[in-house]
């Protein structure tokens, strides 16, 4: 009886950990709920309920004993889609009966602390290349590509670095927009690139909260109104932070 009870708690732990990793790394709410319920089901718990919001997960399972419920708080959210897809494949393997609770838990724990696959420099470089591409996509001329790339790389560098140092939300985006905008303006002033608007827009593209926008819409459609509205608000505030950063630059131009 005791062993049985313990195992049920293990199942909950595996489900919750899977949900936590997914949510922390940018999965949609309905996917998190779905994965958690599937994992519980695969381990032999037919009925479970999960309530997922961007800041916490509540999960309860129904068994012969009284209902058990656990809560996990989500405080840090980043975007690491590799982890989302890795949890997804672990959940598939659980469903296929390839993993025991202990194995699954160990794999998830390992995944949770895994570093980003692409190095810091690679990400900065990717941001720079995205900035450069957008100058052309937005019908700018080629001489604006290089300044936009440098300013975009700097903006993304600042977003990543400042969010490590200052935990205040939206401050890193504000600082990044400020720095990216200032650098773009300096380039424009010394004649490096002739189209200030496109350089700035290109430089700020890596900051756009694309994942939040997509997830907000998908959550709202799936009926997860709390998550959808919260993510929409986060996206809106991020956009406002970027806008304020640029506004500061423009008042001095």
């Amino acid at each position: 009886m005791d062993a049985n009870l313990e195992e049920k708690y293990d199942i909950m732990d595996v489900s919750l950990l899977a949900g936590k990793i997914m949510l922390e790394n940018g999965a949609e709410t309905y996917r998190v709920e779905d994965t958690m319920m599937r994992i519980a089901q695969a381990f032999g718990i037919p009925e479970s309920h999960s309530f997922v919001t961007p800041t916490g997960i509540m999960f309860s399972i129904e068994t012969d004993e009284p209902t058990k419920t656990k809560l996990t708080r989500i405080s840090r959210r980043t975007t690491d889609l590799y982890k989302v897809s890795a949890v997804n494949s672990i959940s598939r393997r659980i469903s296929a009966g390839e993993l025991t609770t202990i194995q699954a838990y160990r794999e998830l724990k390992e995944l949770q602390t895994a570093p980003m696959f692409f190095s810091f420099m690679m990400q900065i470089f990717a941001a720079a290349s995205a900035s450069g591409c957008f100058v052309i996509l937005l019908k700018g001329s080629w001489d604006n590509v290089l300044p936009a790339m440098i300013a975009g790389g700097l903006a993304y560098f600042i977003v990543l670095k400042v969010s490590d140092v200052v935990p205040t939300m939206f401050f890193s985006e504000f600082m990044a927009a400020l720095a990216g905008g200032t650098l773009s303006y300096l380039f424009y002033r010394i004649g490096f690139g002739g189209d200030l608007d496109r350089i700035i827009v290109g430089a700020l593209i890596p900051l756009v909260p694309g994942l939040l926008i997509t997830n907000a819409v998908r959550d709202l459609m799936a009926g997860h109104f709390i998550s959808g509205l919260a993510k929409g608000a986060e996206a809106l505030l991020t956009a406002l932070a970027i806008g304020s950063g640029i506004a500061v630059v423009m008042t001095f131009i």
Binding site: A27, L81, S89, F117, Q123, L204, I205, G210, I213, A239
Partner: protein, 151 residues
């Protein structure tokens, strides 16, 4: 020439966003193609003087439909493919011009630009919604009815 450079650069841009979001390495190229498809739809429609709103809806729809198909085929969450593809459609330029107009106390232009940016964002959402409906009605039936993890 413009078409070619647009194709190449939209591919590169979407793949770059894939790197920033740490998409699994072997899926980066697919992310790039999704982004390219979406942008080219938008590009051709705007070249033919279609209003940005319907162009955005069509492009977002394309992105999400291809994303759903890829998600099915490669058994990965659909957001991996859609996120990178949506970003080129986000009205960054319009939002920027709106912000600039606000700062210059040009509220009339600022409000109309802000409204435009808002409507384009709404169009992206609409495109995503439509593709989900489309997917649930058609693709899910046609492709394997196997009831595995949600895509």
């Amino acid at each position: 020439m413009t078409i070619l450079s647009n194709m190449l650069l939209s591919f590169l841009a979407a793949a770059s966003f894939g790197v920033m979001f740490n998409v699994p390495k072997k899926l980066l190229v697919k992310c790039g193609t999704v982004g390219m498809a979406g942008w080219m739809v938008f590009f051709f429609l705007s070249e033919h003087a279609v209003d940005p709103l319907p162009s955005t809806v069509a492009a977002a729809f394309t992105v999400a439909v291809i994303g759903h198909v890829y998600a099915r085929v490669y058994k990965t969450p659909v957001i991996i493919f859609t996120v990178a593809g949506i970003i080129p459609l986000v009205p960054g330029g319009t939002a920027y011009r709106a912000m600039r107009a606000f700062v210059q106390n040009d509220y009339e232009n600022a409000l109309s630009l802000a409204a435009k940016a808002f409507m384009i964002s709404g169009s992206i959402a609409l495109g995503l919604v439509l593709s989900d409906v489309f997917y649930q009605l058609i693709l899910r039936k046609k492709m394997r009815p196997e009831n595995d993890a949600a895509v």
